[in-house]
């Protein structure tokens, strides 16, 4: 595999060889017609960039939590969130409102895709992603559990460069809390069908550190302000993810 830095060097070397070659053939051609001078048109073969393609299948394992459109990104060695650190605004928008537009647009991403719509409980979605970027060795997948204040599931910064073609790898994913919105489960604060409330709110009124989610309480289990019922409760894991390298 050619690294980005090595390529100009090789081109330089090739072009100086070409100059010598063409000078030689020019001289030979001048001497007679016994040589075919079509060698003059020789151009170095352009190495087509290596393409890596993957198929990802994500299954919603919950009882009553639709998953917002799944964001998938390939990028360099970085993590898009970490337990104990504040969520980015892009992650906050996704975790509070299910909107992955900003997350997909993050500058770190080298290749991205998104499912067309939400993934209902019990359903799966399969997505394809390809890249020719040699640096795009790390995977991030993220989605919101929409009947919550700011719960999301996914994984980030996972090295997939060791996968061989047709090799498959699976994870069972736990649920994070972006820490950006109180889990009051109140009317008007939950974007999913349980409420149809507001998604993203720029104010951060929770711990402002990403951590694992403590689960929803619901009005049936003692949170009187909650718009959620027993049917919206969930446990870990919430999502199954399988990746297969296809190319």
């Amino acid at each position: 595999m050619l690294t980005f830095n090595a390529q100009p060097k090789i081109t330089k070397k090739l072009s100086s060889q070409l100059v010598i070659a063409s000078l030689l053939s020019f001289g030979l051609a001048a001497c007679g017609d016994s040589y075919n001078d079509s060698d003059n048109t020789y151009t170095p073969p352009v190495e087509p960039p290596m393409e890596y393609s993957y198929s990802l299948t994500l299954t919603n394992l919950t009882y009553g939590q639709p998953l917002s459109p799944i964001a998938v990104a390939l990028h360099g060695d970085t993590k898009m969130w970490q337990v104990g650190q504040a969520a980015s605004v892009a992650l906050e928008k996704l975790a509070e409102g299910g909107d992955n537009t900003d997350f997909i647009a993050l500058a770190e991403n080298l290749a991205t895709t998104s499912s067309d719509g939400p993934v209902p409980p019990g359903s799966s979605v399969t997505l394809a992603i390809s890249t020719t970027e040699a640096m795009a060795k790390y995977l991030t997948v993220v989605t919101m559990l929409v009947n919550t204040n700011d719960a999301f599931s996914g994984l980030t910064g996972v090295d997939i460069s060791t996968l061989t073609v047709n090799q498959e790898k699976s994870w069972r994913l736990n649920v994070y809390d972006s820490g950006t919105e109180l889990n009051n489960e109140a009317v008007g604060t939950i974007p999913g069908p349980a409420d149809g409330g507001v998604g993203f709110d720029a104010a951060r009124n929770d711990i402002d550190l990403v951590g694992y989610h403590s689960g929803v309480v619901s009005k049936d289990d003692g949170l009187s302000s909650s718009v959620l019922t027993q049917a919206h409760r969930f446990d870990n894991p919430a999502v199954k993810l399988t990746i297969t390298r296809t190319k």
Binding site: G84, D159, G179, L182, G211, Y212, S214, D221, N236
Partner: protein
């Protein structure tokens, strides 16, 4: 779990080493990070130890030792530390220098003697009556690499989960409330239960909590201080 593969040369050397000293395993150096994954629980001082396979810090479905009870009800690890010292364990105490706050991590190194092949960890979770985060005898891999282990919350089975303010002394009712937690824990709870029917160590059923900070059954805040397992992550790098 991610394993860094050995180079063929290193493997060949290991085979040679094994051939010359088949019964001796070298001491290992471990770089360990414990992360409190929750957003609403504090961990009291953590004790981590490498010990022989014959010893256990705790074991599911058995009665807690007095030392474990003391840790689980009040966060005091001194009893467990002396127990481990007597068993020639390699011990790390209190890497966070006090409470390990929600979503925070603490890192330390531990060099384990060749006989100490298994790793265990314990710390009380707050607020709780006798809940603790634990790791019971994880076999330390011989292969260099970074390993991740997720930890669950256990119940020592030594105290009723009444979920009201009280004592951290072993055998006394109620939850200890150190100053950093005072403002986040309710008052005047009437008590969730006075029974502890299962007196053996078991997976914690979770706290009930309620949404009333000045009354109700529980002094635990149900939308902040409940949890789902796992509650902690241990990242262990075998050097």
């Amino acid at each position: 779990m991610k394993v860094i593969k050995k180079s063929p040369i290193k493997t060949a050397l290991s085979v040679l080493a094994l051939a010359f000293a088949s019964s001796t395993t070298m001491a290992q150096e471990l770089s360990i990070t414990v992360t409190n994954l929750t957003q609403g629980l504090h961990f009291t001082p953590v004790v981590t130890a490498a010990h022989s396979n014959e010893n256990r810090l705790f074991m599911l479905s058995t009665m807690a030792t007095t030392e474990l009870q003391t840790m689980a009800e009040g966060g005091d690890i001194s009893g467990l530390v002396s127990m481990l010292t007597n068993a020639d364990a390699n011990i790390n105490e209190n890497p966070a220098g006090g409470l390990l706050a929600p979503a925070m991590s603490a890192s330390f190194t531990l060099t384990n003697d060749s006989a100490n092949t298994h790793l265990s960890l314990a710390a009380m979770i707050l607020p709780s009556n006798d809940g603790f985060v634990g790791l019971d005898s994880w076999e330390i891999p011989e292969e260099a690499g970074t390993y991740t282990v997720f930890l669950n919350a256990y119940d020592a089975g030594t105290e009723a989960n009444d979920e009201v303010r009280g004592s951290g002394a072993p055998g006394e009712a109620g939850m200890p409330v150190p100053p950093p937690l005072d403002a986040s824990i309710g008052m005047n709870g009437t008590g969730v239960t006075d029974m502890e029917a299962n007196d053996k160590i078991h997976i914690h059923r979770g706290s009930l909590g309620d949404d009333d900070m000045s009354a109700g059954k529980s002094d635990i805040n149900n939308s902040v201080q409940r949890w789902l397992n796992p509650v902690a992550k241990l990242t262990i790098t075998v050097l």
